[in-house]
Amino acid sequence: MDAKDILGLPKNALPIQEKKSKPPKETQRKPDGISREVYALTGGLAPLMPSVDVNQLKRKAQSENEKITWKWLPFTNSARKDNLQLYHWVRVVNGVPPTGDYSFAKYNKSVDVIKYTDEEYEKYLVDPAWTKEETDHLFDMCEQFDLRFIVIADRFPSSKTVEELKNRFYSVSRAILIARAPSPGDVVGHSLVKEPYNPSQEIERKRALSMVLSHTKQQERKDVEVLAEAKRISEARKAAKAAEEPELPVMADAGHDVTDKAAVAGDSVSPSQSTQFPSATIANPVSETASVVASLRMLQVYLRSYAHEQMVQAASSSAGLRTIKRVEQTLQDLGVNLKPKVPTRAVCTEHLELRKEILTLLSLQKQLQYKEAEGSSYREGSYAETPGTPPPKRLQRAADLDRTFTPDSSSFGGERVGKRDLKRKGPGRSEAPSSPAQSKRPRKYKASD
């Protein structure tokens, strides 16, 4: 109660305490008023507010005004056709039984199946694949089973597929509808007329669905890959098209060459993809650059930093994430900002060229590593005996000369070179921590060679 005071809540909580039937946890009394378990449940605290809105609970007071009795009475169900009379308990208020139909009768819905006359059959509904008896029987069953075609198909005497039954039913209904309509315009809006049942389409659809359902996991993965391919190809095509469009009215020579290359690149990608098993596409930097140039041309006005970023992305489009990280690490080692602080035309050009050169450098290193790994398979014995001797002597000499800057492992002494050959891939940056001085020193003005 004092909690309520503190909160400033109205005091209509008082009636709660008078109701004995209410669950004890709703009271504000201390532990002796409620059972020990409930007290423990509430965490030892009195609840601040009733958890149930008090007004919604059925008032006992109301039931005291009226006299409620329950009577065992007969009733009829309008949904039945046989006038069966059953008995059930009925809530009688003040001696007056409730009126109205059986409350569940309204749920007895059924479908309006068209009934055609024999005349109409002769005129509109004759079909080579169906006899009149079959058609009549079909319609009876449709009414009996509320258009549950699966059930009908199971019970139909001559074995017809669900699609055939549906087709017959809907085309008959449609024909009757059109025939009975005073004018064709009246029924044009009816769904049966607008979209007639198409059995072949239905068969296809169901077949496709069941195929998708029975896909193995591997097929699912393949599908995802193919879709990703298609998306990439269509985007490349779109970019090539965008590159072509502004060119058409202008016909500048330089632009023309670039877009030709882009179109060729885009087209050459697609036929190869469609023939071979889908594998990851490597975006062509030339076409990517062309599409960047085209999109910049569309913009007409842009910030040079933005243009530069786009060009950097396009140039690195064929590189994986790891390569891009290595490029950035190399730039940092060289003391170059990843994004130019003063993006003038000259700076951006130089920066872009530098990035391309670093990419070339990294790919050359990789090539060299692979070559050496191949070479090492020729040396079995001598290698194990002299772990300290680095196999390609020239490399070691080169590393000695240039202690200032070399990315990756080629600068890290003899012992490590041995390790490198044992695992095929270069150890990369992970070995850097052992010689921190080399990577941290800013190599700004070293024209070392």
Binding site: V250, A252, A254, L296, R297, L299, Q300, V301, Y302, L303, R304, S305, A307, L334, G335, V336, N337, K341, V342, P343, T344, R345, A346, V347, E350, H351, L354, E357, I358, L361, L364, Q365, Q367, L368, K371, E372, E374, G375, Y378, R379, S382, T386, T389, P391, P392, K393, R394, L395, A398, D402, T404, F405, T406, R443, K444, Y445, K446, A447, S448, D449
Partner: protein, 245 residues
């Protein structure tokens, strides 16, 4: 007769110069002063966000108006500045992203350009305690590139200090354009701006130097690796003999 010559002249001015571009170097950012003892809880700093020419030149020659979109907690968060200097001063306590939209004159382009700047008021760890005398300054350098400018635009700006016009094709004859009001231009530039003492000087020379040095190193490495590769390619079996030495 006069009418038709006017129209043809307009058409000439609107003709685009192919394969050329105009660059306008700009610097944009903010300066923030701590108000010290005059600071209140909601107005602790007085700041100015601006766009200026990189050498403090008048940008009014290309920019028609600048729209600064502030945080929604400001009254009328969309502030329009119709003439140079394109800047906006306010007081407040919070840092947020400001979107600066530049609208250009009709002979330049109809497309607007957006700049994004994060307002900085507080100095951060490296700079020590706040002082009312020394403001917090954050500026970014960039260049607005206008592709295939119209002849009218080109002739209007070709001698303007704010604009970099590259060498034009020799056969271009640009129509004459009325002389610019030199005084008006001087009024618009930021050389005498009260805050100009805090402006950063962005020099491309430093960056170019670093880039040139880096490129040299990388090119040397590439040459070396190419040599090595050709050697490795030539003689795999002989390497065995070499390592036995």
């Amino acid at each position: 007769m006069l009418k038709s010559s006017d129209e043809s002249e307009k058409k000439n001015l609107a003709r685009k110069v192919k394969d050329s571009e105009i660059g306008v170097p700009i610097v944009y950012g903010n300066i923030a002063f701590w108000l010290g003892k005059k600071a209140s809880e909601y107005q602790s700093h007085k700041w100015t966000v601006y766009v200026r020419g990189a050498g403090n030149e008048d940008l009014g020659v290309v920019i028609k108006r600048a729209v600064f979109q502030l945080h929604s907690s400001f009254n009328n968060p969309t502030r329009i500045v119709e003439s140079p200097p394109f800047e906006l001063s306010e007081s407040g306590w919070g840092e947020f992203e400001i979107i600066i939209t530049l609208h250009f004159h009709s002979d330049v382009t109809d497309n607007p350009l957006h700049l994004y700047h994060h307002l900085k008021l507080y100095p951060g760890d490296e700079s020590g305690p706040m002082s009312t005398k020394k403001p917090v300054v954050v500026e970014s350098y960039d260049e607005i590139v206008f592709l295939e400018p119209s002849e009218g635009f080109l002739s209007r700006v070709k001698n303007h200090p704010a604009v970099i016009v590259p060498r034009l094709p020799a056969d271009i004859i640009l129509p004459p354009v009325p002389m610019e009001d030199v005084d008006k231009r001087k009024r618009g530039d930021a050389n005498d701006h009260p805050l100009s003492q805090w402006f950063d000087n962005f020099s491309e020379a430093d960056e170019l130097l670093i880039l040139a040095g880096a490129r040299q190193q990388v090119q040397a490495q590439i040459a070396r690796l190419r040599r090595q590769l050709s050697l490795v390619d030539g003689q795999p079996p002989q390497l065995k003999a070499a390592s036995d030495l």
